[in-house]
């Protein structure tokens, strides 16, 4: 019986004619002597014949029409996953290793070029220019009502600006120029190295006090108060300076919201130039890692 079980395992090879001569001879001898195995082999052959002679079925005549309707009328949904997975295999016969190797090659070349690039110092004006767009458009185009001015970090400086000592690209506002030249810390130091993470406007120009000139102080102040919750900021203090008709608001805002704050002031019709009044300056601004306290002076426009 054991031999019969082993014989059954060899039916495939025997049927395909892929057995060695000796083994086949031995197997045929067994089949001649064993009726069950012989019958079994006959059924095996019949099975093979039945499987291979199954008739070929053909698709219906309208198969192509139906398929074309499915293929070309259904828009294929765009998938980011598919896009990235096929990014390097979009060429028909390009094996994946070529794509990967090419990528590695490009990265290496990039690193080499980067390391050989001239490593001259960054001009002091450049970083300001980089981050200036939140303020610059109003100064340049004049489409909006005005521009938010910027006072000196550590003292309440006069509005007048001395002659620039360094060349600033044309088109930048004098206020930005002023800061670039007279900031309490060197701009490069404030920026850190080029490998540091992106920094906010407040980080670059320093958390500092602002002066806003507006035809309607009330309107500008109310606008600011309404805007504060949107900026995740809050009003810290509010002072009135009756003799000169000014108001000073102390606001606590997240460091990253500095640009939004200035935009809000501009959007609500505020106009500001210069550094503000020379007398009775507001307290200096303070900042920690995440928040900034700014004092905004609202004064009548001239």
């Amino acid at each position: 019986m054991k031999e019969c079980a082993q014989v059954g395992d060899l039916f495939g090879e025997l049927h395909d004619g892929k057995m060695e001569v000796e083994a086949e001879k031995s197997l045929r001898e067994h089949l001649n002597g064993c009726t069950d195995c012989r019958e079994d082999f006959k059924w095996y052959g019949f099975t093979m014949q039945a499987l291979t002679s199954l008739e070929q079925v053909s698709p219906p005549p309208n198969f192509m029409t139906q398929l074309e309707a499915k293929l070309y009328q259904e828009p294929q949904p765009f998938s980011f996953k598919d896009f990235f997975s096929s990014f390097f295999s979009s060429a028909p016969y390009m094996p994946l290793p070529i794509g990967v190797t090419s990528l590695v090659f490009l990265v290496v070349v990039g690193v080499v070029v980067y390391n050989h690039a001239p490593s001259g110092g960054v001009s002091s004006a450049a970083p300001v220019a980089m981050h200036a767009p939140t303020m610059r458009p109003t100064a340049e185009s004049g489409l909006l009502a005005g521009v938010v001015g910027k006072s000196q970090p550590d003292s309440w400086q006069p509005r007048s600006v001395s002659q620039p000592t360094q060349e600033i690209p044309p088109g930048f506002s004098p206020n930005i120029q002023q800061f670039a030249m007279t900031g309490t810390q060197p701009v490069e130091k404030k920026l850190g190295t080029r490998h540091q993470a992106f920094r906010t406007v407040a980080d670059v120009i320093g958390a500092d006090n602002l002066t806003v000139e507006s035809p309607s102080i009330e309107h500008a102040v109310e606008s600011l108060k309404k805007a504060l919750p949107n900026l995740h900021g809050q009003l810290v203090t509010e002072k009135f300076r009756d003799p000169v008709g000014e108001r000073v608001l102390g606001v606590l805002i997240p460091s990253g919201a500095y640009g939004h704050l200035t935009s809000e002031l501009i959007n609500h019709g505020a106009v500001a130039v210069g550094a503000g009044s020379e007398n009775d300056p507001p307290p200096p601004s303070r900042k920690d890692e995440n928040t900034v306290i700014l004092y905004i002076r609202f004064t009548h426009s001239r």
Binding site: Y44, A50, V57, L67, L71, S85, S86, P92, V112
Partner: protein, 219 residues
């Protein structure tokens, strides 16, 4: 500054050249290379050519998986749609036909499992088996000694199809690919991502199951 020895650069260049040569030489073995290339350029006619060429074989394979014309039509269309949508992923590591039948086998297997869960084959098999058995008793006088006569009968086709339907999906796909579609062991092993030895042994077991089924039904 990163050190960048010349030898590493040489190695990269050599590697790229070898891979480019490898990829340039390989497609010559594939008859469908040019048509696939045109497909990838957005030529619909080219894909239609591929459909025309393979629709009969794919439909036949689908029919053997699901044992029903309507289902086979639906399945084979699904296979071509899947091939069309994934054509950009075809990297030419194998022949296009192997790749297409790989998709077909996967889809066929999944559809077969789905239909089996829903009792599609159980209800179908019972009624047809009974009819077939009666038919066979009348038309085949001596089936144990004359199997060729059996093959001539139309009903035998249904009996064989039922026997295939009773196989488990892993055995079924191999029987279909080898004995019905006529692929080589090597191609099947590539399609199913199996060692050739496993393919052979699985095929043998599948044939033995079909044989027992036929023997039981026809004896």
């Amino acid at each position: 500054m990163i050190a960048f020895p010349e030898t590493i650069l040489n190695w990269f260049c050599l590697n790229i050249v070898v891979l480019i040569l490898f990829s340039a030489l390989k497609p010559e073995a594939d008859d469908d290379y040019e048509v696939v290339r045109r497909c990838l350029q957005g030529n619909r006619e080219a894909f239609n050519e591929l459909v025309e060429k393979y629709s009969k074989k794919i439909y036949n394979l689908a029919y053997r998986f699901v044992g029903d014309s309507e289902e086979a039509n639906d399945l084979s269309q699904e296979i071509f749609v899947a091939a069309y949508q994934n054509l950009k992923k075809f990297r030419g590591d194998s022949k296009f036909s192997t790749w297409l039948f790989q998709i077909a086998t996967n889809r066929g297997k999944n559809r077969f499992k789905y239909l089996k869960r829903r009792g599609h084959f159980a209800s179908k098999g019972h009624t047809e088996n009974d009819e077939d058995r009666e038919g066979q008793q009348k038309t085949i006088p001596d089936h144990s000694t004359n199997p060729e006569t059996l093959l001539a009968g139309k009903q035998i086709q249904k009996i064989v199809q039922d026997a295939i339907n009773e196989l488990d999906p892993d055995h079924k796909e191999i029987v279909i690919l080898r004995d019905i579609e006529g692929f080589s062991y090597e191609e099947i092993a590539q399609m199913l991502n199996l060692p050739e030895g496993t393919t052979k042994s699985r095929l043998h077991r599948a044939r033995m199951v079909v044989k027992e089924k036929l023997k039981r039904v026809l004896s």
